[in-house]
């Protein structure tokens, strides 16, 4: 992956003050499709979750929340910890879920 892409992801992950709607989490321990499956299953149980995207390459779990709803950092950390993974960073970003998918797929090529 290009350094500029990594920098953009890091910037998006840790930028402060972005409006809610998309939550991006850096997660350790993501090594297979089963990990992604378990995390998606856990997060989709939250009524505020509209969409979930997991990127193993970027150690990223992104959540699209429903309009006007949010999930607290404590609840996100608990959900991921209870699923068996370690959360290393949480950020609300302005990127839409579609933009995240497109950017990461492009970066992977």
């Amino acid at each position: 992956m290009k350094k500029s892409t990594l920098a953009a992801i890091a910037c998006a992950l840790f930028s402060a003050g972005a409006p809610a709607g998309t939550i991006e989490m850096k997660v350790y321990g993501l090594v297979c499709g089963f990990c992604a499956q378990g995390i998606e299953k856990t997060l989709r149980k939250n009524p505020a979750t509209a969409d979930v995207f997991v990127s193993l390459e970027n150690k990223l779990v992104a959540i699209g929340t429903r309009d006007g709803q949010d999930i607290s950092d404590a609840d996100l950390t608990k959900a991921l910890t209870d699923a068996g993974y370690d959360v290393k960073g949480i950020a609300r970003t302005e990127r839409s879920m579609a933009e995240i998918r497109t950017a990461l797929k492009a970066a992977a090529k």
Binding site: L30, V31, C32, G33, F34, G38
Partner: protein, 215 residues
């Protein structure tokens, strides 16, 4: 025993390690069936209330290629995740389990109470993996331990929603006159999302295969 100790040291010290886990993920159900070269067949179903443990039922068939004796063991099992290490691009685990059940013993033509204890250590990235598993089955009529080493390499890094491909070398040893020596097999493993299949051949040209579904 020296071979097993050596393999264990290799897994622990040389890095690569993982394989199918007795606990896939919290609130997940795992269904697995394995055909092991005619000497060992097993089927299991587990449900994991949390990522730390799972409960389930299984059936194990051991067929000796030395004396023709056969054990058919039906069991109830608890699996427990002793320790997990989540690293930036890797994961390692230590699992243990125990079960009790009923065993049909061919030479006695009778059923006996049986119990089982086992453990697994694994380590995996998206390119290399390895696991070492030991599984002891005992009853008043038999004692068999099955030790399995798997070392795998992936030709590419898979993503969460893409097909994962692995080439795996498996070494398996049995005690209690099931099979003499180490049974080596080369396997092709494919998985995507919750579905997993693998197949290969042993050094004797026998089929070794496994299928698993997580949901």
């Amino acid at each position: 025993m020296k071979l097993v100790s050596g393999l264990a040291a290799c897994v622990l010290l040389c890095a690569p390690a993982a394989f199918s886990k007795p606990i896939a993920f919290a609130h997940g159900t795992t269904v697995m069936a394995e055909y092991g070269a005619g000497t060992m067949n097993e089927a299991q179903i587990f449900y994991a209330p949390t990522f730390k443990y799972s409960l389930g039922l299984g059936y194990l068939e051991l067929d000796s290629d030395q004396n023709g004796r056969k054990r058919e063991i039906s069991y109830a099992r608890v699996n427990y995740l002793v320790k997990r290490w989540n690293m930036e691009s890797a994961q390692a685990n230590v699992f243990t389990w125990g079960s009790i059940g009923n065993a049909r013993v061919s030479e006695q033509r009778s059923d006996v109470f049986s119990w089982n204890a086992g453990a697994q250590i694994d380590y995996e990235t998206r390119r290399v993996y390895g696991s070492l598993k030991t599984d002891l089955n005992r009853s008043s009529a038999f004692s068999h331990r099955v030790d399995t080493l798997q070392l795998g390499v992936a030709p590419y890094k898979h993503e969460a929603d893409s097909l994962a491909t692995w080439f795996v070398v498996q070494g398996r040893r049995y005690t209690g006159e099931i099979h003499d020596g180490t049974e080596w097999a080369l396997l092709l493993r494919l998985f995507k999302r919750g579905a997993w299949v693998e197949a290969g051949v042993t050094q004797d040209g026998k089929l070794q295969a496994m299928a698993m579904v997580n949901f």
